[in-house]
């Protein structure tokens, strides 16, 4: 209930703000944030919140014109537009994830911003005309203004709302990042004011391209969320200054200026959303590649390259601190037999079970690696031979209490730095020899039985 009232209040305020810029008809404006608010609300909260949108739209129009039936018609149009836009975005453009991919942004633009808004414009204009608040001759021109206001409302307002509320940030900002965000916001405001603020009052220099460095900064250093927010700031200042009669889009009739400005805003917003999405996607792919380069995809453990890396790091660290560290090599016994008898799927599962035991028994500072088909390793910083056997015992205990079939056994060998070697090769060799000794012992024991 609180949610619905709050949403209705936000919508109502947005509508009242928009209607202050209604120049060609008291109900029609090029600045219409409510469309974006409604779309974002439906996408994020679901269509069940429609009564809030409907009620607020009705009230905002009723208190503007006093015409009950026209206001009712307009409210129906506004609500239907949001519901239709949301249905299309959910069905064809990944719903709340719409601003993550270029394809979905294009679909959002076409289906929600450009298409669903024709519904509100058509129903609204018809309601006004039937109510005697608009002459039929004026209808086409007014329709265009209405449609543009709604479309830009979707393009500029909805992304910021959906990205702020709907998408969890991947990582928390560091202090430096926070400072950079504030600087970005300030520069965005400054540049927008420079472009639209009438620094040269008698000349309307068309220097809107000056905005691009700022938008690229937002896209490349931050995420789509910050890009959409920057665009919101820009749009706000641009509208405010253009109405003040300065900047590149002023010098025409008020509605004409706003139409020109909103067309510019729409294209700029979409373009910057696309750039931000492409940058974000690229960053994510890089992250995945980096991870694939150091991990074994089956188990998520470190791979051979990362094992060598961890050993090199520990050798350097121990060389400085004088603390020992240990490396444990572990071999899954009879993997070939498991593969032959139970199939490769059981083999993969067996490998993952060993990985699970390793993950469960190591500490945050340890590295667990799978560096061959059935070969695993643990790198244990600050650990001597006793501690290493203790850790290895943890792995064995986990596998022994594991009632999953087939039951698994492992062989182990331990080597410590610097006693058993002081290079990566020497350490791995020493652990390998220790491993084969235990394996041989066990085989001889088995043969004797």
């Amino acid at each position: 209930m609180t949610l619905l009232v709050g949403l209705a209040a936000v919508y109502y305020l947005g509508a009242k703000l928009g209607l202050r810029f209604a120049y060609i008809n008291s109900s029609v404006t090029t600045i219409w944030p409510p469309t974006g608010i409604a779309l974002a609300a439906f996408v994020l909260l679901g269509s069940r919140v429609w009564p809030a949108i409907f009620g607020a739209a009705f009230l905002a129009n009723l208190t503007t014109t006093g015409a009950v039936w026209s206001s009712l018609g307009i409210a129906i149009g506004n609500t239907t537009e949001g519901l239709l836009g949301t249905y299309l975005v959910n069905k064809f453009a990944q719903g709340g994830h719409v601003f993550g991919r270029v394809r979905d942004i294009m679909r959002f633009t076409a289906l929600a911003a450009l298409f669903s808004t024709t519904v509100s414009a058509s129903i609204g204009i018809t309601s006004l005309a039937l109510g005697g608040l608009l002459s039929w001759q004026d209808a086409p021109r007014v329709w265009l203004t209405w449609w543009l206001g709604d479309a830009v409302g979707d393009i500029v307002i909805a992304p910021a709302l959906i990205l702020w509320v709907g998408v969890k940030p991947a990582v928390a900002w560091t202090r430096r990042r926070f400072v950079e965000a504030i600087v970005l916001a300030l520069i965005t405001l400054l540049v927008s004011y420079g472009i639209f603020g009438g620094v040269f009052p008698t000349r309307h220099y068309p220097l809107t391209v000056l905005l691009w460095p700022v938008m690229l900064w937002a896209a490349f250093r931050f995420s789509p969320r910050e890009s959409a927010t920057a665009m919101l700031l820009v749009s706000f200042i641009a509208i405010w200054r253009t109405l003040g009669g300065v900047g590149p889009f002023s010098g025409y009739a008020p509605n004409e200026s706003l139409v020109l400005l909103q067309v510019w805003s729409g294209f700029t917003a979409i373009t910057s959303l696309v750039v931000a999405a492409v940058v974000a996607a690229r960053r994510e792919i890089q992250g995945t590649w980096r991870e694939l380069a150091v991990t074994d995809p089956l188990t998520g453990l470190a791979n051979h390259a990362q094992l060598v890396n961890a050993l090199e790091t520990e050798i350097r660290r121990s060389g400085r601190s004088g603390q020992p560290f240990a490396v444990v090599l572990l071999d899954l016994d009879g993997l070939k037999k498991i593969n032959d008898r139970h199939g490769h799927l059981a083999g993969s599962l067996a490998i993952r079970r060993v990985a699970e035991s390793l993950l469960g028994s190591c500490r945050a500072t340890d590295t667990a690696a799978r560096f061959g088909g059935d070969e695993f390793a643990l790198v244990l910083p600050g650990t001597g031979e006793v501690g290493a056997w203790h850790a290895a015992r943890g792995v064995v205990d986990r596998l022994e209490t594991d009632a999953e079939k087939p039951s698994l056994s492992i062989s182990m060998g331990v080597a410590t730095y610097p006693g058993d070697g002081d290079t990566v090769e020497a350490l791995l060799n020493a652990a390998d020899i220790a491993l084969y000794e235990t394996k041989g012992r066990r085989k001889r024991r088995a043969a004797r039985v």
């Binding site: 719903g95 995809p297 993952r352």
Partner: protein, 135 residues
Amino acid sequence: MSEPLRLPIAADVDVVEARQRGRALAADAGFSSAEQTVIAAAISEIARNIVMYAKQGEIILSLVQSGGRQGVAVVAIDEGPGIPDLKRAMQDGYSTGDGVGTGLPGAKRLMDEFEVESVVGRGTTVKMTKWRRAV
């Protein structure tokens, strides 16, 4: 959203069952093979904990969603002896004497969110969640 899966835990075979179900649930939710291993390992740790210290209890597995992200939530409840020194039980090391320890620090390290509540004589509840990385 699917119904939460309630699994009684009283023996080693139940640990296996819980781990396998957790793995399958994560696989259905689109978690990568590596992430499934991590989730299964964490479930193993807390399930084994129940068998070792409380003798019996329950594990509840469910899929959760937040801000468009999907996650696997694991809740482990037992009415066992409880943990007298929670701080010590959460210490990340091998000093606890026996090989497998309490399993709690391991599980915490493996999951994204981890909460443990324990009252001596009443029992222990562990709640943990792993979020799927963005696609």
